[in-house]
């Protein structure tokens, strides 16, 4: 546990220090790369809340990233530029969408839950493709971006970097706290033995739904930030393959572990960048690498770095 915490602390210390070093070597693009990795990590951590802690495997999580991104983009287009207002809107809309889809989806479990979340994900995806006024299939370039108290610090460069980093830290710490809280342990109890949890007196569907909504909201926030970073949204943000990528990050990192989703997300983004710069056909390596990791590294990356504390958040 202590080692776990140290790894987390080391990652964040590095992320905090890097922007101070980067200008010395002049690599703006590396900063962009880290922002991308952090954004993926935020979404992956949120997914870990429902997969790792809740035992609910969703194949439609990217849809909530999309809902967040599109909510913010549409609000921006209609002239709302304050990022805190956008944040509130994003949270409200994703929570609503998650509440409705989650209430229906949670009537199923296991593989059926996977399929129904996929179904809802696809519905949301196709909804985006039909938003003709906001680019439809082609997506939408955002000519104005969100501001923080009227200032453009969060629009690019270090300002955006630190804003994303702060969000990541809050997500990481928040999800970890949730895992340890009264709520979190009910959620894990329901994952381990749903019937027992119910006979202990817990309406488990309600707990799962709350977790689902929380995870969706966090994913929505990452969507808002992705929009702000890319200055562009398109339905591609919500494809089922993107949900697949998130699952890869979570499982690769180590399910339900403190740093798993974080490590998984960074691994994917950096691996893609390194492999793709070595070899244009990098997916020829990446695909088999996934298979090998599944077959031989069962506990995920977090397990390779620190022995897994079972059941702990």
């Amino acid at each position: 546990m202590a080692r776990d915490r140290m790894i987390g602390a080391a990652i964040f210390a590095t992320l905090l220090a890097l922007p101070l070093l980067l200008p010395l070597v002049g690599a703006d693009y590396l900063m962009g790369l880290l922002i991308k990795a952090m954004l993926l990590a935020i979404a992956a951590i949120s997914l870990d809340l429902i997969i790792g802690q809740g035992g609910m495997v969703s194949l439609g999580h990217a849809a909530f990233i999309g809902v967040g991104a599109y909510t913010a983009a549409i609000a921006l287009e209609s002239g709302i530029e304050e990022i805190l207002i956008l944040l509130a809107l994003t949270l409200a809309v994703t929570a609503l969408v998650a509440l409705i889809t989650g209430a229906l989806a949670l009537r199923t479990s296991g593989v059926y839950f996977l399929m129904i979340t996929l179904a809802f994900g696809q519905m949301i995806y196709f909804t985006f493709t039909s938003l003709a006024a906001y680019g439809g299939d082609d997506g939408l370039t955002l000519w104005s971006l969100a501001t923080l108290f009227g200032s453009d610090v969060v629009q690019n460069g270090e300002g955006l970097y630190f804003f994303v980093l702060a969000t990541l830290l809050a997500t990481w710490a928040g999800v970890h706290r949730i895992g340890l809280s009264r709520f979190g342990r009910v959620l894990r109890a329901a994952r381990d033995n749903p019937q027992r949890a119910e006979v202990m007196g817990y309406p488990i569907t309600r707990y799962r739904l709350v977790a689902y909504v929380i995870a969706a909201c966090i994913a929505g926030v990452s969507g808002l930030l992705m929009m702000q970073y890319a200055e562009f949204v398109s339905p591609a943000i919500a494809t089922w393959q993107r949900s697949g990528d998130l699952i890869v990050a979570v499982v690769l990192g180590g399910l339900g572990t403190r740093n798993g989703a974080l490590l998984g997300a960074f691994f994917i983004v950096l691996m893609e960048e390194i492999l793709s710069s070595l070899l244009h056909e990098w997916r020829l390596i990446y695909g088999p690498l996934l298979v090998i990791l599944v077959l031989y590294a069962k506990g995920g990356l977090a397990d390779l770095m620190a022995p897994r504390a079972k059941g702990a958040g």
Partner: protein, 245 residues
Amino acid sequence: MLEIRHLSKSFGALRVSDDISLALGPNECHAIIGPNGAGKTTLIHQISGVLRSDAGEVRLGGRDVTGLTVWQRVQAGLGRTFQITSILPSFSVLENVAIAAQAKAGGSMRFFAPAARDAALNDAAAAVLTRVGLADRMEARAADLSHGELRLLELAIALAARPKVLLLDEPMAGLGRTESAALIDLLAELRAEVPMLLVEHDMDAVFRLADRLSVLVDGRIIASGPPAEVRDDPGARAAYLGAEA
């Protein structure tokens, strides 16, 4: 405390509970015996809400709980154990019981305070564990317990919610002679505090604990009354006890 009226349940053409009625008074232990497949566990499932009944009524402390879900019945004071041990294997023994206590205490929609350091819950859980004799195993992972310890944990989880009525589904299942004896002593002690409906094969336990005894055969209660009376009931003997003797 607990009253069951005309409870029925069928799976297709198979009638597993047929118009069962029984009542459980305060500080009473009512044992249900019967051959395998008689519908004992089904009855427990129906009372606890795990299975929906086709007809009939379950009343707890005068309140109709038939329409309630499993967790609502637990919240209303109906505790139960499982015939096949059902615990949370990846949690510690203390946490297993603390989570059960938490359901009673409320506040489960709290997201930030670390629950493992919640003194009130831990104290309540520790008290129950001490009571059942697992005080020295509190920090162990539940999955690492022996079978006998698991049966005790099962009981502790049920007790932690401070139930008004306890449904015990073969608590002695798989226990050795000395373990059984200890558990019988514990249940005898508890009987003074909480009325219990006991499904059990172990006749020693039944005759030691039960105030009343019902014999369930093919989903029907064929005899009911004080243990001594039922023991002498010719129908019951023929259907069940005789077969055992």
